[in-house]
Structures are given as structure tokens and as C-alpha cells.
Symmetry: C2
Subunit: 337 residues, 2 copies
């Protein structure tokens, strides 16, 4: 046990969005996953997000032998110590905030610790990576980022347009992250990140969750290719800012992909990160089929030349540090009307 | 009576947003107002807008001796013939559409015939005139305009940023309007309209509803100044494209102005069309205190040199023509999922 204990590695996956069931949670435990950031809104508005949070309360309750809610670093450390997987909530959109600045704090009080300004279309907050014109951060968006900084909710630039991402990095007083994205030098895709933004994320104290998600990696990407890419990102921004966000989505019905990409905003077909030539759920790579394969990915990183300490940082240490710097005791809002 | 009949002028006010009551409706009748475009959403989302439409159903029902709903040119002509004021619904925001393209047709079926892409902040559809950066029309926004064209809902550029307005004028296949705005040459304000956009509105077959609203006119604007401005706009784009949209807002409680400007998007004070130096409800000009003064405004236009036929166009004829060109029988949407 001491030996097993000594080989444990705090592992944090900064993005999963699956059709949740006990089997997935057991896979988390089999891989000794300390924490999963799970998406509770893609298109959902405030009201609909309350429902999703209610479902998660039940899921955690019904699986409390292996799951625990995480709202603080202490929660994370306790889940890890107890051999449970901590669950941390986040938004892949600002849709739950609607046009109401107060909802940032309200959803934070409900345990939401990450939020993206946009998913696949322009929002009140900013521009998506898929818009031909990225508005940058709107006035409301700047207020939202200010509130997120104040209450301790982490700005997640995944799916943002480059200009919106850059604006948020300029105004945020706390670490800013990409929970699930790769560098553009690895695969040139709107969802992936130019080098200058990777550097700004590092300068903010944030991290980038590299993603084995097929639409964000080159065709036939091998685990060696992925590790070599990670090494290049480490060279560029330092190992303290490189992490994992797998963008794992397991068990969804066929039609769900259309909803994920199209929500209700278009009648005509839209392919999101895919394309007309490659419209469906992309097959996962042989070397990453879900959380169960994370330990092997970490071994591959060591084999590629990373030290065990460096892999500890990539596997979870960096996310933990971001949490330490981000999850603050909030000062009260300026006034209450 | 024949004599009175012969001096009637079909009068249409393209923007009013008051704290509605019987007194206002009686003032409409005293001025023989044929039609008022009334705002049913400023910040309201879909659900809240349903409530506002429900209140209007009651208002029209309880005042059916002098009011009638207008969803077609035939409705307008009938209201005019019967000596009632036709009420036509519109949005000063795209917030009721939320992120759901289907809601354009649904709200049109509820009688909504005008919609702005934005009010005072960036939306999913486009950029507001108050944003430092105007995104232009988003991809969702282009789909919304397409749906509006298809079902017969008029795009209203009031409050839009210049780029968003220009984009809509580029893609719309039907007349595009400003229901309530003045030219920038008259008063340089973000809400007012540059000459090139005035020309594009005319080229689209649309019209501009000139507004005696104090924040959109120069200090101490006289009725002669207003008429001279109208004459310059007529010179620029032709009398067929110049109309009236008073932006009348009567009887609101003090706090309502904060809601109109700030909704729930900011905790810090925001002044909308006003300013820190000029924060409150601006006093109305001596020559325009409400619908009762419209006949005198039309007399002033005649005194300024417009012919009676020209004033007929400005007073309501041009809006009626825009309705004729806009209120089409819709073809069905491309598909129904």
C-alpha cells in the first residue's frame, strides 16, 4: 500500500462531457482520477442549467462511494485522499448568465468553477472561434470576467475567437485557461490556439488542457505525435502551464451531436468542429478511448523524455495550482440594488 | 363629416413605449393615430415576452372601442376606416429569439412585425451602437434576418452598430428600416444614422422614423430645426423614405429608466442615450409632448414647405408602403425536424 500510495499521481481531466452513468464513474476510479471538470451547460440558459445541476446533485449523491463535489482545493485534496473522484462543474458557454451579471455569483454559489465566454456562436459576452468576425469582449463580457475574477470562477477560452480570448487575457486579474484545446502549430483548426495566446495564458498563471479529441488533432495522430506536441508546448510556455483536458464524450446517442453543434440556432446543417466530409462522432484514437487510458498516456510522456515530476504537473499538478490561485474568498459585489 | 373625412391623414408612429393606460389610447384617437408600433420587449427573453403579449391582448380587448390589433395591411386599413388605432408589436432587441431560430416565426405568428438585432449591448445577432467594437451580423444573425424576411417581420436597425446595420442592409431581401432615429449630421450620437446608411435604407425600400426624442436631437431643438432636418433627409434619400417614429415614453416611474438602460447586465450605472451630466428622463420639447402634438408637427412640415401629399407620406403613407412590401405570405421553412 505504501508502494501503491507512492505511485499515485493526482490526475485532473479539465474537460469531459459524456452521457453519464456509473460505468464511466467506475472507469474514473480505475484510473484513479482525482477530479473531472464536467460540462453542465453547452446551450442551456439559466433555467435549464439549474436542471442540469439538479441532475448532478443526484448523480453525486447516488455515487457518493466514488464521487464527491469539488468547490475548493480542500475538497479536491479530500477527494484524492479518500480515493474518490472530485467533480467540478463548468459551462462551455455564457448562455446560463443570460444578460444578468448577478448570475455569475449565483452559479458560482452552485459550484460552477469554469465558464467559457462562447461556445460555437457569438454571445452577449464575446465572439466564437467559428464566427467570421470575432467581436472581442463586449462591455457586458468585461463585467462578466470581472465578476468571475471576483468570485473565483476560471475564464476558459476554449471555443473563443482569438480576439475575444486575447481581450480576456488582457483584462483578467486571475489565471486564464484553455480547458480543452491544442496548439495551432500542431493542427490548424479554429478551435486550436496560436502561439501568442499560449504565451499569454502562461503569463496569466493559467494552463492549457491538451486534448486527444480527434477533430483537434491531425489525422492518424499517434501517441508519440501527441507527446511530441506536448514537449513543444512545454518548450514554448513552460511545463507549469501544460495540462490535460480530454474533451471526452462517451455514450451519446447519434442525434446528440447535432444538438451539441446546432443547438436551436440553425435549421440548416452545421458541423461544428467536424465538416461535411467528416460529419459524425470521430472515432477515438487507439491510444485514448477514455479515462482508463490516461495512465498509459502519462507513461508515454515519460517515455518521450518527461521526468516523473513533470508528468505529475501535466497530469494534475498544474490544474491544482490554477485552482489554488483562482478559488479565492470573494469580496462582496460593489453594491446590491 | 365629409369635410372632416377629407382632411384625415393616415398617421403611423413607428415607436412608442409608454406606461400604457386608457388616457394614452384616447390621446391616440384625439390625434386620429391610425397605427402605433409599440415595444413588447427591451430586455425580455422569450418567456417574459409571452407575458407582455398577454398583457397587450388584454389591453386591446379592454379598449376594443378604440384599439385594434394590426398584423396586415388590411388590418391597418380597417382600423383607419373604423376610426380606431391599430397596434403593431415589435422588439427593441433580439433577446426574445434567444438562441432559437424557430422563435422568429413563432413570434411573428403572435403578431410581432418589427425586431431590432440589438438594444444597448451585443447580442447573439449583432453589435449595438454602444459597443466599442461592433461585431457586425453574426452567423446566427444572418439566419435570423433570413427568417424575418421569409415570414414578414421588418428588420429595425435602431440601436444597431453601424457595421451590423450595414451587414443587415446587405443581406436583407426586404425593406429595412430605422423606426426611431435621426441623422448624424443633425446630431452626432451613436444612436443616430450616418448618411451612407440612410441611403442604403432608402435603396432597400425602407424608411427612417425621425424622432423628436430629446437625447437624439440637439439642445433646444425647435420644431423649425426638426422640419429643416427632415427636409435635408428628404433631399438626401427622397420623401418616400422619410417617416416618423417618436420614441415616446410616457408615464414611466423613475426607476424604469435605469431598467431600460441597464436591464440586469451591469451593476455599475450606465446612462444609455443619456450621460452622467444628463442622466434622467429628458424633458420633451415644447412642440412635442406626445401623440396629441403630431398634427401640429405635420402643419409645421407644411409650413416649412412640404406639400400636403408629401406630409401624407411622412405621416404614415411611407410606413404603409413598407408594410405592403414587407408583410408577405411566408413560404414554409426549409424543413421541420
Amino acid at each position: 500500500m505504501n508502494n501503491a500510495q507512492s505511485t499515485r499521481r493526482m490526475t485532473i481531466d479539465a474537460m469531459q462531457y459524456s452521457n453519464w452513468n456509473r460505468e464511466i464513474f467506475e472507469e474514473w476510479r480505475a484510473a484513479d482520477l482525482a477530479c473531472a471538470h464536467v460540462t453542465v451547460s453547452i446551450w442551456e440558459d439559466a433555467r435549464e442549467t439549474l436542471h442540469e445541476l439538479g441532475k448532478w446533485a443526484t448523480r453525486i449523491n447516488q455515487n457518493s462511494d466514488i464521487l464527491a463535489p469539488v468547490r475548493s482545493v480542500a475538497d479536491l485534496d479530500q477527494a484524492y485522499a479518500e480515493g474518490k473522484t472530485g467533480v467540478i462543474f463548468g459551462f462551455q458557454n455564457s448562455s446560463p448568465f443570460e444578460d444578468d451579471i448577478r448570475l455569475v455569483e449565483t452559479f458560482h454559489d452552485l459550484g460552477v468553477k469554469f465558464a467559457q465566454p462562447t461556445y460555437n456562436i457569438q454571445t452577449l459576452v464575446g465572439g466564437s472561434c467559428y464566427e467570421p468576425t470575432d467581436s472581442g469582449l463586449s462591455r457586458y463580457g468585461a463585467l462578466v470576467v470581472g465578476e468571475m475574477n471576483r468570485v473565483g470562477m476560471i475564464p476558459d477560452l476554449s471555443h473563443s475567437g482569438v480576439r475575444t480570448a486575447s481581450d480576456i487575457l488582457d483584462v483578467s486579474t486571475k489565471p486564464v485557461v484553455y480547458t480543452h484545446a491544442n496548439p495551432r502549430f500542431f493542427y490548424d483548426h479554429p478551435r486550436n490556439v496560436p502561439n501568442d495566446l499560449l504565451k499569454k495564458v502562461a503569463a496569466s498563471g493559467g494552463a492549457v488542457g491538451l486534448a486527444p479529441y480527434p477533430h483537434l488533432t491531425p489525422d492518424d495522430c499517434s501517441v508519440e505525435d501527441f507527446c511530441a506536441m506536448a514537449a513543444r508546448v512545454v518548450e514554448l510556455i513552460g511545463v507549469e502551464h501544460v495540462a490535460i483536458g480530454t474533451d471526452t464524450g462517451l455514450g451519446h446517442a447519434d442525434g446528440v451531436l447535432d444538438w451539441i453543434r446546432m443547438g436551436t440556432w440553425t435549421i440548416e446543417k452545421n458541423y461544428g468542429a467536424g465538416s461535411a466530409a467528416n460529419p459524425g462522432w470521430a472515432p477515438l484514437p487507439s491510444w485514448y478511448g477514455g479515462t482508463k487510458d490516461l495512465p498509459d498516456l502519462f507513461s508515454a510522456l515519460e517515455k518521450h523524455g518527461f521526468s516523473s515530476d513533470e508528468v505529475d504537473l501535466i497530469a494534475g499538478g498544474n490544474w491544482r495550482r490554477v485552482f489554488v490561485e483562482s478559488f479565492v474568498d470573494a469580496a462582496p459585489a460593489a453594491d446590491v440594488a
